[in-house]
């Protein structure tokens, strides 16, 4: 369950960036080929966040579909798994996206 470590990092990064304020929302990106299960991240988040500035926050997970560009025919095509080949049959391609594992932003509360 490496997602636990991932969530620990998310909570730590968000807590530091909040600089003492309470966090309302944490937005992250998870690529479909990142090796991280969004469901497992969502499952761990509440317990890891408990007792931190992030404990009241909503976790927004944006899943990013994987896409690659074929080095043979030049086409861009979706790669839903690690084994997909280009429709032209080539296995030589460059991944354009789908491996993201980023924390995009947080929303913090400012006292009025």
């Amino acid at each position: 369950m490496h997602e636990l470590s991932i969530v620990c990092s998310i909570v730590e990064l968000a807590s530091q960036a909040a600089e003492g304020r309470s966090v309302r929302r944490v937005t992250i990106e998870i690529g479909t080929l990142s090796g991280v299960e969004p469901e497992a991240v969502a499952f761990c988040f509440p317990e890891v966040a408990r007792g931190t500035p992030v404990e009241d926050a909503t976790l927004d997970i944006r899943e990013i579909d994987a896409k690659a560009r074929c080095e043979v025919c030049g086409a861009e095509f979706p790669t839903p798994d690690m084994l997909s080949a280009c429709p032209c049959g080539s296995r030589q391609f460059q991944r354009l996206r789908g491996e993201e594992l980023n924390i995009k932003s947080i929303e913090v509360e400012e006292a009025a």
Binding site: M1, G35, A42, L59, I61, R62, R91, E109
Partner: protein, 305 residues
Amino acid sequence: MCTSCGCQGQGTTMTNLQTGARAEIAALPEHDGVAHSHGSHGHGHFHGEHHHADDEHHAHGHDHSHAHARDRGGHDHAHEHSHHRVDLETRILAKNDAIAAKCRAWLAGREIVALNLVSSPGAGKTTLLERVIADLSGELPLFVIEGDQATSNDGERIRAAGAPVVQVNTGTGCHLDAEMIARALSELKPSVGSLLFIENVGNLVCPALFDLGEHAKAVIFSTTEGEDKPLKYPHMFSAAKLVIFNKIDLLPHLDFSVERARENILRVNPDVEIVEVSAKTGAGMQTLYDWIRAQRTAVKEQALV
């Protein structure tokens, strides 16, 4: 790692099997130290000390894109606050990767080749290391960081084989991370020009994601596993520079196609090198040693640039 909430503040220990020195490793430090103390009270936060009147344990994580850290039970306490967005755009594993980069630079500066050995449990990592230590320790200094959830059984085997070893026990943790390696390196102190093996926790999933600052990941894949293992665990095979195909001495007794296994490995990672060995009989080990020697030469040349 803390068994209550998963944070890695507690539970990871490091033992120098030469000196017996033992230390706790806070692999990922506690959550900014805010209201989340893991003191002698024994992880009580999970069981109630931070509970609020409107708080209750609730099912969570079933929504694929939303998880609320805490159900506020309908109480809206945000009405008197304004919200402010802070853009981060940070890789979630940035901290691990930064520590890994430091380890990598430290190792490179000392011309040490560090190989991160990963496999399923039982693929033969420790037996392979015993053989390597027996065969190569006359040629170059060898050091080992031994990762397991619990026990120093494997570490003791390595020590008996003759290599200095630091055992890292991850508790419930399923992989080694860069902080553990940084701490283990400061304890182990591998010498200039040595060969360092990091025997990761037996697990083909989690270790794929964590850069340890190693020179290369080597997957040990044995003939007693399914030929389709590379297809089932593509991340690990895709992250590897070398596949050590182990237990070839058992092939006459198994219904296992080496050809199909190789095809599957190359399907996931067309650039990977594959060596076929038996750590038990020693067959094929010279090919592995030649590969290791080539890596050492490359690391030395790199150091001169």
